[in-house]
Symmetry: C3
Subunit: 136 residues, 3 copies
């Protein structure tokens, strides 16, 4: 059985945000057993799984990814949409647009310290759309 839902995120600031609760609310009742796929329909934002407790982890993600893919490199050619645009595209492919999480005993089968991250790579972005697909 397949169930799909569209989850709309409000505009978030640039950075890494815990959205586990929003996702759980957005998809509704879960089957006993299955898989949840989340797919973000944008090319300058991403989805990831990481530490759900300490905000300093999410702050350091921003620091580290900015060092990995710096802005304003004179070798970039795609610069018309601003200095944060091309790095945002690359970060999106490094982090990924899609997540698959198991569903077990009617719940997301996340580890104790795992949460779902929404990663906003643009300085000023609007709402973002995620398609959630549940298989059971």
């Amino acid at each position: 059985m397949i169930k799909q839902a569209e989850i709309q995120l409000p505009p978030f600031g640039r950075g890494y945000h815990l959205i586990t609760d929003r996702i759980v609310d957005g998809i509704g009742a879960l089957p006993e057993q299955g898989l949840l796929n989340l797919f973000i329909k944008h090319t300058s934002a991403g989805l990831s799984i990481n530490e759900n407790a300490d905000a300093s982890v999410r702050q350091d993600f921003e620091t580290i990814l900015n060092k990995l893919v710096p802005e304003n490199d004179p070798d970039y050619t795609h610069t018309m949409e601003g200095p944060d645009d091309m790095p945002a595209h690359v970060k999106a492919s490094l982090i990924g647009a899609s997540l698959t999480v198991p569903v077990k005993n009617g719940r997301l089968d996340l580890g104790t310290w795992q949460g779902i991250y929404f990663c906003e790579f643009r300085n000023k972005a609007g709402r973002r759309r995620i398609t959630a697909t549940i298989y059971s």
Copy 2:
């Protein structure tokens, strides 16, 4: 219901290539609702989702990934297959071998600006094989 197809890509030059149309042609009719998984059966190429409009984005991907994982670092030990080989393996794991995309209303549920990238990390590669699996 499951349907599988093998999609063969012709040799592409090193770089990032839009293959959305090839994938859509290769998988044939899509179900109303489901998921498409694409899996590339190689360790020095990858699949990603990114911007489908401006070729300069794909050019800058090449620039940025080459800076991230440079060639000819004297610390590398796996050098027998050429200077592009070991960086190609690492890029393949950073970008990923597998993509999962939702299917909705009989079409791939991609965002307006999203396309499927085939990422060729070797200087001279042959044909590449992708296994497509559709769940509905």
Copy 3:
């Protein structure tokens, strides 16, 4: 049809380890056709697909990822769990917590040179748990 199994990995040293055989043993009989999803329930370890033959590839992975996300950067704020902790979180998101591999003719449909990597990013970690979900 869905089948789930929990696979427990013993403590591995920091680095990249081939676990294809452990996974195949842990999931038992495979269907003729389907998909296998592997999900690691931790935020400082990852799963990837890469070269299955030459141990020097896995050694260079360690070298390259350590250069990508160095330890002891004075800009990090999440430092209480040791210098390897924050870099481990970022590596986990770059490599990914989840893998989806097609199943074809009753076997994992991996390419000739592909194996499943378990990536341990911490210096001293305990056992790690993976949820395997098979769709057919």
